[in-house]
Symmetry: C2
Amino acid sequence: MAVSEGLAIGALARRTGLAVSAIRYYEAQGLITPWRNAGGQRRYQRADIRRLSFVMIAQQFGLSLPEIREVLSGLPGNRTPTPQDWKNISKGLRAHLDQRIDTLIRLRDNLDGCIGCGCLSLPKCALYNPDDRAKSNGSGPRYLMGDTPEG
Amino acid sequence: MAVSEGLAIGALARRTGLAVSAIRYYEAQGLITPWRNAGGQRRYQRADIRRLSFVMIAQQFGLSLPEIREVLSGLPGNRTPTPQDWKNISKGLRAHLDQRIDTLIRLRDNLDGCIGCGCLSLPKCALYNPDDRAKSNGSGPRYLMGDTPEG
DNA sequence: GTAATTTCTAAACCTAACTTTAGGTCAAGA
DNA sequence: TCTTGACCTAAAGTTAGGTTTAGAAATTAC
């Protein structure tokens, strides 16, 4: 089995820990592009192990598959990615992760002062209208914990 | 409209920013329990505004609806919750959030040293076999970014 | 050469968290 | 009173991220 023959999908699955069905699904989502052998079976490059590993890590960081596809598009298409190539696209992940951590820390720091404060009066509260919910729809202001002060 | 008549579902929706359909869904999930008026329509207490606000905040913290139901079960059933009641159940949220933040910070601190390091050799990597993925199935070791060193 | 694996495609199924639709009832205002 | 808007139920649809199934073809092992 020459190297040029590539990896079968089952071998790639064993190397990455992913299910075969997941790998085919990722192909359908444009995250990985195998070629086909004479019999029509998928064949993968060794570099695809790293590619799928990157997908798994990025998922843990909270990126959706379309977002991961976007990040991966920063890799060179005409050659096997180098360590520097991976380093480059990882910067975007880092920024994404920093932002998520900041948001959570901000929420945490407001939890005691808000739910726990005893006033429960809100709109003053910092948990009022947080980022994620604000962008998710346009249906007017939201009053988290938003009873009127005397409520 | 006496206070004892309670809030209609549309009023509750406006006060919380939630969709009417979402409030009915939460009822089906056991998160909120309105009574019915003579005509069979749902009626809510003013305290339910705060209850739903709590649900929304807990969701942002990453809790599932069953988990939130569990947390809410710590509230007294026989009277309107006091600020201290809310403070008490918020402690569980705080712990949950602390854990999530720790996990993300650990992941972030390993990102540069792993994807970005240039070696890409892994299983040595700390991103290898992280918590969430490890518990999610038993299909053997996982080699995130797991090419062999010469790959 | 034959048997056992593996792989193939397409389509259906799954969970979470909701929304939408359809057809009908209730409530509030002029 | 009448009309309009709010509300009701049940069921189906939606999105993300996959898994499962079924029947057929390719590959590998002996």
